[in-house]
């Protein structure tokens, strides 16, 4: 898609000097974004056993979509939990954490972003972003327990006999969300089993919806705790794979009492987009330093990957990065 169709700012200050790629190799799904000076392409594959193969697959798909060749790619940035294992002989490569990438991805699409909820396959994060730069001010990440993450919802869908992408929709039909009190996946699962048993006896579809809603509220409560630590300032943006789940979207908005700002692209790609934006900056810096040759398509590009404005000088900024214990 054309970047100018999806962002308000023209020229877009994050446009790379030439084609660059961002990968977000998550625990469940892997995302790829290819940015050219005026276009944005996305692709998704389930994460395989070997991260490099997954990344190669993503790159092949992106090249096919765009008709570009491998040697046209100026820079790759990898993020997500599989970021470490990637290696490229022929393309410059860097690793950036998904926290930094999600902040940049959300900021690049919407510069008013101040708070991000990112829920992925195995963890959830609340991130506070500096709207002037897209940099992380503060973040909180869930503990090693999986409550409130995509993995938990996946498990819940299986127990309810639903596909993962049906779960959120079913939850919206709930008349009375089931009281699932536990924040622990294991216990919540056993609560679900007993709730389901009751529902199956009456053959009630509504019970399933109520359980599904209960699951989302239980997860959302967990995420709300994270948000409580960084604070909620609009624009509030929901990123990560679970951002596609309408049930979670609804449960969070209701619990937090705030609304998420809609994004112009599927926010499962926020991390990969942020990675691609960073790739664009690295590529621009390499061109400037004379350590990289401009790629063929670079001539088309006008914008250089520059931050929107300089960070302000002044009093030391207060910053805390608080984790859930």
């Amino acid at each position: 898609m054309k970047i100018n169709d999806i962002v308000e700012r023209a020229p877009w200050p994050f446009a790379p000097p030439g084609p660059v790629v961002g990968f977000d190799i998550g625990s469940r799904g892997s995302k790829g974004v290819l940015l050219t000076p005026d276009e944005l392409h996305t692709t998704f594959v389930p994460t395989g056993l070997y991260m490099q193969e997954t990344a190669d697959d993503l790159l092949a798909r992106l090249l096919k979509q765009t008709g570009l060749r491998r040697r046209d790619i100026g820079f790759i940035v990898g993020t997500g939990y599989g970021r470490i294992s990637l290696k490229y002989k022929d393309i410059p490569y860097q690793v950036v954490t998904e926290i930094t990438c999600h902040a940049m991805g959300a900021h690049a699409l919407n510069p008013r972003t101040r708070t991000i909820i990112d829920i992925g396959g195995q963890d959830s994060k609340a991130i506070k972003v500096d709207p002037a730069t897209g940099k992380v001010v503060e973040f909180v990440m869930n503990d090693k327990c999986a409550a409130g993450t995509g993995r938990f919802l996946e498990k819940a869908a299986v127990l309810l006999g639903l596909e993962l992408d049906e779960l959120g929709g079913v939850a919206l039909e709930a008349t009375e969300p089931a009281p699932i009190s536990s924040q622990c996946v294991v216990f919540a699962e056993s609560e679900m089993v007993s709730l389901r048993a009751r529902g199956e006896r009456s053959g009630d579809q509504a019970t399933r919806a109520n359980i599904a809603a209960g699951i989302h509220f239980a997860s959302a409560r967990r995420v709300k705790t994270l948000l409580g630590r960084v604070g909620i300032e609009p624009d509030l943006v929901f990123t990560g794979g679970v951002a596609n789940n309408v049930g979670m979207w609804h449960a969070l908005e209701e619990l937090i009492g705030a609304t998420f700002t809609r994004s112009p692209i599927d926010m499962i790609y926020a991390g990969a987009l942020g990675a691609a934006v960073h790739a664009g900056k690295f590529h621009a810096a390499a061109l400037q330093a004379g350590t990289a040759k401009p790629k063929a398509v670079a001539a088309v590009g006008s914008g250089r990957g520059k931050p929107a404005s300089r960070p302000r000088a002044g009093a030391p900024r207060r910053a805390a990065f608080v984790q859930v214990g």
């Binding site: 998904e98 940099k135 805390a320």
Partner: protein, 408 residues
């Protein structure tokens, strides 16, 4: 000879520690000392203690083999300990109990003839009551109000009790002159450790955070005479290392005990990410070496005052003393960020954390908070957190430089 070889063969089986090369001889000394503690066929009694408020001066004056018992238990040892506790005890207290398990425990712990425990937190007090089933244990009291004259008089009495108990164990008297000599000896060691730490104030320290923790480990395992000769040599060597190279991100590690063997956070920071721990305020880092004990007058009162005046544990009152010290160390060592880490279920550092964190925030120092245990299943998440923190600090560094340029 045969014994040394056995010790060496065993040491060879363990993974090599990721220490700087000049530290390896110290590491070998510690390993040998630990083997001797377990294996040496002598009549010398072995005394162990848990807490940095225990004056080893007395144990050494009695001629005992002595060591601080602060190993991080393996998951199996933690599980052994958990048979006796609720799950909501920290992994350290569980490790202390599990280490004494007659079958699955740690041979080093099982070699101990007597345990001394100064009552710090409730978990450790309960732990020592369980350990009493396995090995004779003396629980001593440690007052909380460190400034009170009454506390000091009381603590002096506790130290006299401690002396009597230790003398009975060793079967020999401990004179005041013996004690004064030991105080001088341990003061030398403490001053030396502090000097080592000051090398870390350089932009490019010749000593990693892990190296310093190894030196502290030595303080708690080696007899002071052995320590002094080995450490003085090492200090001369390290102080001559040129202060150049790329400046790593400077971090402080703050919070609860970082046990012997609990290195995964520091290894992650230093070996995997390339930042440096330049100071720590916990009781297995720099904290016990910020004070010395008075060398004149009544040695019992000197020990009572000296240990109460040392950099305080967060269980002491007033808490402000601990919080302020953390802030002062962070500034003195010019750290760019603080990793505040505490053991899960730590009723002390887990509860006072907000006091520490908000104080550091007010000083403009970013903090990463981590609650930890001795399992390793969360390595990936831990890595993401620490890496993201370092990314933010690196960005800030860029801004700081940028700001200076703008001011010019």
């Amino acid at each position: 000879m045969a014994k040394t070889q056995t010790a060496r063969a065993r040491a060879a089986k363990r993974p090599a520690p990721s220490l700087s090369a000049p530290l390896l001889p110290i590491h070998a000394l510690i390993e040998a000392e630990q083997q001797a503690f377990i294996e040496a066929q002598d009549d010398v009694k072995r005394a162990g203690y848990f807490c940095a408020y225990t004056p080893p001066e007395l144990l050494n004056a009695a001629g005992l083999r002595h060591a601080r018992l602060f190993k991080a238990g393996s998951p199996e040892i933690v599980a052994q300990g958990e048979r006796f506790t609720q799950s909501v005890f920290c992994d350290f207290s569980k490790s202390c109990i599990g280490g004494f398990d007659q079958n699955a425990g740690d041979p080093f712990y099982r070699a101990v003839d007597k345990v001394y425990n100064f009552h710090t937190c409730a978990s450790m007090k309960r732990a020592s009551e369980v350990i009493e089933q396995f090995v004779p244990t003396t629980l001593l009291n440690l007052p909380r109000n460190r400034g009170d004259a009454a506390s000091r008089a009381f603590f002096r009495e506790e130290i006299v009790h401690f002396r009597d108990d230790v003398a009975a164990l060793a079967g020999r008297a401990i004179t005041e002159d013996d004690l004064r000599e030991q105080i001088r000896l341990f003061n030398k060691a403490r001053r030396l450790l502090k000097k080592f730490s000051e090398l870390r104030k350089r932009p490019f320290s010749p000593l990693s955070g892990k190296d310093f923790l190894e030196l502290v480990r030595g303080y708690y395992y080696l007899p002071p005479q052995t320590l002094l000769s080995a450490y003085e040599k090492l200090y001369r060597k390290l102080s001559r290392v040129p202060d150049d190279g790329e400046r790593p991100v400077r971090l402080m590690v703050s919070g609860s005990i970082m046990a012997d063997g609990d290195r995964r956070l520091v290894e992650l920071i230093e070996d995997e990410i390339g930042a440096r721990v330049v100071v720590e305020d916990h009781c297995t880092g720099l904290k016990p070496f910020t004070h010395t004990v008075r060398e004149t007058g009544d040695p019992f009162q000197a020990l009572a005052d000296g240990y109460l005046d040392q950099a305080p544990c967060a269980r002491m009152k007033p808490l402000d003393d601990s919080v302020n010290l953390t802030g002062e160390l962070a500034q003195e060592y010019d750290v760019e960020g603080v990793v505040y880490v505490y053991l899960k279920f730590c009723a002390c550092y887990g509860v006072t954390k907000l006091e520490f964190i908000s104080h550091l925030q007010q000083l403009g120092i970013p903090v990463l908070e981590i609650s930890s245990d001795y399992s390793s299943s969360d390595h990936g998440q831990l890595k993401t957190r620490v890496e993201a923190f370092i990314e933010v600090l690196t960005e800030r560094r860029g801004e700081r430089v940028g700001d200076t340029v703008a001011a010019d």
